[in-house]
């Protein structure tokens, strides 16, 4: 099971700031695929993923227990 965190417009689209996903050993790319098809999240190409507070690449593996944040383009400052 992985813990997903959502921010900004993604949080509003999905209607929640976090959800739990019953899966293990998937790549970042696979996760994005799931979110696109099962949760109808758009514009996932522009979304970054952080695994346990570290930015991850498309091929990085997400394991059960990880906290995964979906990070749309940032606009701080």
């Amino acid at each position: 099971m992985i813990n997903l965190l959502f921010f900004a417009h993604l949080q509003e689209e999905i209607g929640n700031d976090k959800i739990k996903l019953e899966t293990d050993n998937i790549t970042v790319k696979q996760l994005k695929g799931i979110l696109k098809t099962d949760y109808n999240l758009s514009q996932m190409d522009q979304v970054m993923v952080a695994i346990n507070e570290e930015y991850a690449l498309e091929d990085d593996i997400i394991k059960s227990g990880d906290t995964v944040a979906l990070i749309p383009p940032v606009s701080g400052g």
């Binding site: 921010f7 190409d45 930015y55 498309e58 940032v74 606009s75 701080g76 400052g77």
Partner: protein
Amino acid sequence: MSEKLFNVQEKPIQLEEIVKKVESSNAGAITTFIGTVREWTKGKRTVYLEYQAYVPMAEKMLAQIGSEIQAKWENTKVAITHRIGHLDISDVAVIIAVSSPHRKAAYEANEYAIERIKQIVPIWKKEQWEDGEAWIGDQLERVAYQEGKPKIKDEDR
């Protein structure tokens, strides 16, 4: 006051407090950047802003920016505080303070910090206009992250 050099907080930011964190008897120069909420952007009036952050990671990324600066500019000290939540016009959203023995480094490092904040720190703002609202995306005007993520290191890894 918070003693943390890299901080994300809901309460208003005190300029003097941030500057104190970087003071040093060997710093001849301290630069600060104060980012405030602007009323007009390209002819559109902002009523207020809402900032959201992934707080623990945002503070980690701010600290990383501090480390990058100390590696690039010798003997600098850096403190950054970003505010989140509801901000009105003219409210302070972010303060960056950099001290250095020499002024050139203090300017360069400070500007580097704000550019990096806009690249890697997970903080978002939602603009409230008179006729609507929207989460603001990438202000650096890139269409998409080239590798699916921002440049985390200066050299691509």
